[in-house]
């Protein structure tokens, strides 16, 4: 049986608040945590079918051109080498998130340095790796391979363009205005678990254990790449050691392992090296941005301009959506937004941790700080007076809006001093000390999702979907939702995820997982409750379940009387998507110290206050926010992909040289969860969390650097060399 809900109207019934089990909203530890910390959670590369051969990708050493010849004989006689796979179906880029079709194939055409062109398969990994390095490849190079946005004429990404009112006029009439250029560097997802796949072919069906975020799309992408029917494929991704966008689309190793397993008729494992993960999956584009803000004498915005230049390979549809939240964050009558894309021959640009706001918000919120200083107004106040009543571009109402609460509660909890903000006044020894703040915003999305919920005769429950848990806590919150709806402790709920044989979920990405798949489970459970209510002689609305029984009545087991009730919950966003602008909001506050001599910045403490609808589990939610804040520290201070200016190859391609923040960079972090029910966001009143935690935080740090030492920087990350260059004498 199945139950379908297309949400066309806000849901203010808040049903989950009226259940009796009391397990939802509890700060429970992750139910998969023990398996993970004891090493018993099996990740994709750890599946070891008998007779498994090992494949290593061969990557291009030119930037652009054609592979004219692959001399297989150069390696076939090496010890252990089984085959060189150069099938035309090999993919040469990872699919973009939700692509639902194969990414670029034709491995003989090279579009970027480090692009996969073949796979060497051998008995052992070491043999395959050595042979991959020895494989002779003859290229015909195409010298026309621009690797930097400065070298090409960018094109406008027209969907993003907005022109309302007259910004130039607003700027010239403004009592106060700023016009600033910002730059941000490229970023890597930098997940711990490298991309890996183990493929097995039994002559009829191909089973692939792969580390992927969105099986519901990946299965179609894989089928399309292999030119096979989806029903001949099974994808399994039970545990994913971090994705951060890099595993949204099917990536090169999964297709290569599949082709090799079928060609060789034996299982094949392909694990990317750390360098390959960095060099041939996804980068976040670097950006150049221009912010123009015009304000009247009291600080009310009259003009708002945000332009950005990003880059990608020719032929890619994805453009870093830098302006995403700029469309609605602040009111201003005259608006001009524009996104330009430069086509260059560097590795694929795609979704990396909060695409868009992760780099757009730090620029916008940096500019707001400059404006606040010019006006002579408290930066918190400047944000508060510019919160729009409704979406300033589309005129739509907000589904719910907690920016003001976040700013106020955050300021209070942080102990924000709203007095006059003179920079460079507090010094402790070598260190300048200062504070800064910024708003947070991240658009909220939901997606169609299905999950099967089965209540077993013994009173336990099974939840099945192909949704993945990429380390965020999906297993846990689904058990909590089902437990709450059906009156069960979570140890009575078994959650089975990451198998394409299960009903299709939304995939894990864009922070939409919990709200989407949680709603599908909710819908399935609600249908089960209908059946239980009938059996108990009451209505669903009045049915109260807790501790495996009807409150004050029969046990579930007795009510089921040997039957099993199984419902496939099917949730669809519906028209409501077009009726509201939905976003998570928040505020960041930071206290930093900047070394007068060395320009090093250290964070003393940082606080984020966030409103993202219903908090399903405060512990996993808080962890998501802590992770987000950590990434924002990376954007502010340490993370930067460096590309060779001549051939465009990524040079810092490991975790020693690409600097994500380490523990010592993480000071006291505090998270304030601002209570909210968003009726139009999802039937469970929840919105996305994970990415929100990093959208804007970097500006709080940048603004604190200025407040501390007087160095106003317009380039992220703010490494010591840059801070020193901007430090007043």
């Amino acid at each position: 049986m199945s139950a379908h809900l297309k949400q066309d109207e806000p849901d203010t019934s808040n049903r989950l608040d009226n259940m009796r089990q009391g397990v939802l909203g509890k700060p429970l530890s992750r139910i998969d945590g023990l398996a993970k910390v004891t090493g018993t959670a099996t990740y994709s590369a750890e599946y070891s079918p008998e007779n498994c051969a090992e494949g290593v990708l061969v990557t291009a050493t030119i930037t652009r051109g054609v592979v004219t010849r692959i001399d297989k004989d150069s390696v076939l006689s090496m010890p252990g080498v089984i085959s060189v796979i150069d099938d035309a179906r090999l993919t040469t880029r990872a699919a973009q998130g939700t692509a639902d079709e194969a990414p670029q194939q034709s491995p003989r055409t090279v579009c970027y340095w480090g692009q996969p062109i073949a796979l060497v398969v051998a008995e052992t990994f070491e043999q395959a790796r050595d042979a991959a390095k020895h494989l002779k490849v003859i290229y015909r190079e195409n010298e026309a391979a621009p690797v930097s946005p400065d070298l090409v004429e960018p094109k406008e990404h027209e969907d993003e363009t907005v022109r309302q009112g007259d910004l130039a006029r607003a700027m010239s009439d403004a009592a106060h205005s700023v016009d600033i250029a910002y730059t941000t560097k490229g970023h890597a997802s930098a997940a711990m678990e490298p991309h890996a796949a183990v493929a097995e072919w039994d002559g009829k069906k191909l089973t692939v254990h792969a580390s992927l975020q969105m099986l519901n799309f990946n299965i179609t992408e894989l089928a399309d790449a292999l030119d096979m029917d989806e029903d001949k494929l099974r994808l399994v991704s039970r545990f994913v050691g971090g994705g951060f966008g890099s595993k949204l689309g099917v990536s090169e190793e999964t297709v290569a392992a599949s082709l090799a397993a079928m060609e060789l008729e034996r299982p094949v494992r392909v694990v990317m090296s750390r360098q390959q993960v960095f060099q041939c999956v996804m980068r976040r584009s670097e950006t150049t941005q221009r912010l123009r803000l015009a304000a009247d004498k009291d600080g009310k915005l009259t003009g708002f301009g945000h332009q950005a230049l990003v880059s990608n390979l020719p032929g890619e549809t994805f453009a870093e959506p830098v302006l995403q939240s700029s469309h609605f964050l602040y009111a201003a009558e005259s608006r001009e937004l524009k996104l330009n894309v430069a086509r260059i021959h560097q590795m694929t640009a795609g979704s990396v941790r909060a695409p868009g706001e992760a780099v757009g918000m730090p620029a916008l919120e940096g500019a707001m700080d400059v404006l606040a200083e010019k006006i002579g107004i408290d930066p918190v106040e400047l944000r508060l007076i510019n919160i729009p009543e409704e979406d300033p571009e589309q005129g739509l109402p907000f589904s719910s809006h907690k920016l003001a609460e976040c700013l106020k509660q955050g300021a209070e909890a942080f102990g924000w001093d709203s007095g006059h903000r003179e920079p460079r006044v507090k010094r402790e020894g070598e260190w300048w000390v200062g504070t800064g703040m910024a708003s947070a915003a991240r658009v909220h999305n939901v997606s169609e999702a299905k999950a099967r919920v089965t209540l077993k005769p013994d009173g336990t429950c099974l939840v099945e979907t192909d949704m993945t848990d990429i380390g965020t806590g999906t297993y846990t919150i689904l058990a909590q939702i089902a437990g709450e709806m059906l009156g069960l402790e979570i140890d009575k709920v078994l959650v089975d995820l990451g198998d394409s044989q299960h009903p299709r979920g939304p995939g894990s990405g864009g922070s939409w997982g919990a709200a989407s798949i949680g709603s599908a489970v909710y819908v399935g459970c609600k249908a089960i409750r209908e059946e239980l209510a009938t059996r108990a002689g009451t209505s669903e609305a009045e049915l109260e379940l807790a501790e495996g029984r009807v409150v004050g009545g029969q046990t579930l087991t007795a009510l089921l009387d040997g039957d099993e009730i199984s419902e496939e919950g099917h949730y669809e966003p519906g028209d409501i998507k077009d009726d509201y602008t939905a976003s998570g909001f928040g505020a960041f506050f930071a206290q930093v110290r900047v070394n007068h001599f060395t320009g090093e910045t250290r964070i003393d403490r940082m606080l984020g206050a966030f409103g993202f609808g219903r908090v399903l589990n405060p512990k996993t939610a808080r962890s998501q926010c802590l992770g987000g804040i950590t990434w924002s520290i990376g954007v502010a201070l340490t993370e930067a992909l460096e590309f060779d200016p001549r051939d465009g190859h990524l040079v810092n391609c490991d975790l020693a040289e690409y600097h994500v923040p380490v523990h010592r960079d993480l000071p006291e972090l505090e998270v304030v969860l601002v209570d909210e029910r968003d009726p139009a966001a999802s039937p469970i009143q929840a919105k996305g969390i994970g990415e929100l935690g990093m959208c804007g935080g970097a500006a709080a740090i940048a603004n604190a650097i200025y407040n501390a030492c007087g160095a106003r920087l317009f380039e992220y990350p703010m490494t010591p060399d840059r801070v020193l260059a901007a430090m007043p004498e």
Binding site: T61, E600, V651, R664, L724
Partner: protein, 328 residues
């Protein structure tokens, strides 16, 4: 990784014999060598595992110094009571390097011999004169933020990336080297590493078959000891610039100023002229500038790393000011 022959060395002579062959290398903690073998930057045919040769002892010497065996781990050296009390600059330098897990494996000898972190050196599909003589230098005109500003050549601008040796250089430590024939020679740490010149592949003075057996530190000297490492994140990052300093101030005048610098050159940089400028003088900003002028007179940046020159000047100011403050 290429297949290689693993040999567990039974004696120093045995190890030395194995590694006198071209294509043979000693392996200690393996934290640097194994990474480079995976990348096929190093492709030894033979490895001599020296981990079973003792040489892990840390012991007092007759002249009041301390001898640290080549196989003593970085952790063992950093926590040794005498290192902590008499050579804190060394303890701090070691602890400023890598991570706890790496330091638990890394050895004194291996740390001295660790290879550069130049991005082009570690990518075998890029030109590098150090890895492949004559292929060119990818870093010049490439990404060279971490690269050297002192003692470079038109062949190579790489840095020696380590911290431990910088402190040892300031302390006037000496490397003990054994040869196959049983002879031992000693070389000051300050002279152990080479400048790139026309032979960038040559990083130190070890001859084929030579093995480091220990590093010995002279008896404790008076003064304040400081290790300052400037880096892009607060831990687990190589130095942009680092300074090891042993500074003494008597009667308001500098009486000792042993300084060594990391992150600036293909070796820990030690310039005796700095002590000459400082000693006998009253500490002042102007004096610190004079010292910096001398240190940096021959410095040359390559665009991306130009910032190291002013950064070094400022960091030197900070370190000398700290020494003065601590002496007061």
């Amino acid at each position: 990784m290429r297949p290689f022959q693993y040999n567990r060395a039974r004696s120093l002579a045995d190890a030395s014999g194995i590694i006198s062959d071209k294509g043979a290398l000693a392996i200690a903690g393996g934290t640097n060598l194994l990474d480079l073998m995976k990348l096929q930057v190093e492709i030894p045919e033979q490895l001599a595992d020296i981990n079973h040769l003792g040489m892990a002892e840390i012991a007092d010497t007759e002249d009041g110094g301390l001898r640290i065996g080549a196989l003593a781990t970085n952790t063992a050296a950093a926590v040794h009571p005498r290192v902590r009390s008499d050579y804190p600059v060394l303890a701090r330098a070691i602890l400023a390097g890598a991570t706890q897990q790496l330091r638990n494996k890394a050895t004194t000898g291996g740390n001295l011999c660790q290879r550069t972190r130049c991005f082009y050196f570690t990518n075998v599909d890029q030109p590098c004169n150090k890895r492949e003589p004559g292929s060119g230098c990818g870093a010049i005109d490439g990404i060279a933020k971490l690269h050297a500003v002192l003692g470079t050549s038109d062949q190579c601008i790489a840095t020696y990336p380590g911290d431990m040796a910088v402190a040892m250089s300031a302390l006037g430590a000496v490397v003990h080297i054994a040869h196959e024939d049983g002879e031992e020679r000693t070389v000051p740490v300050a002279d152990f590493h080479c400048l790139p010149g026309d032979t960038p592949w040559r990083e130190n003075v070890l001859e084929p078959g030579e093995i480091i057996t220990a590093v010995s530190l002279p008896a404790k000297v008076a003064g304040t000891q400081i290790y300052r490492k400037v880096r892009e994140r607060s831990s687990y990052a190589f130095a942009l610039v680092s300074i090891a300093a042993i500074v003494e101030i008597k009667n308001g005048l500098f009486s000792r100023a042993d300084l060594a610098f990391g992150g600036l050159a293909h070796k820990p940089w030690h310039d005796p002229r700095i002590a000459d400028v400082l000693i006998g003088q009253v500490p002042s900003e102007k004096l610190f500038d004079e010292a910096a002028d001398i240190l940096l007179s021959g410095a040359q940046g390559f665009g991306e790393n130009d910032f190291k020159i002013p950064l070094t000047r400022r960091t030197l100011h900070a370190v000398l000011a700290q020494a003065v403050e601590q002496a007061a």
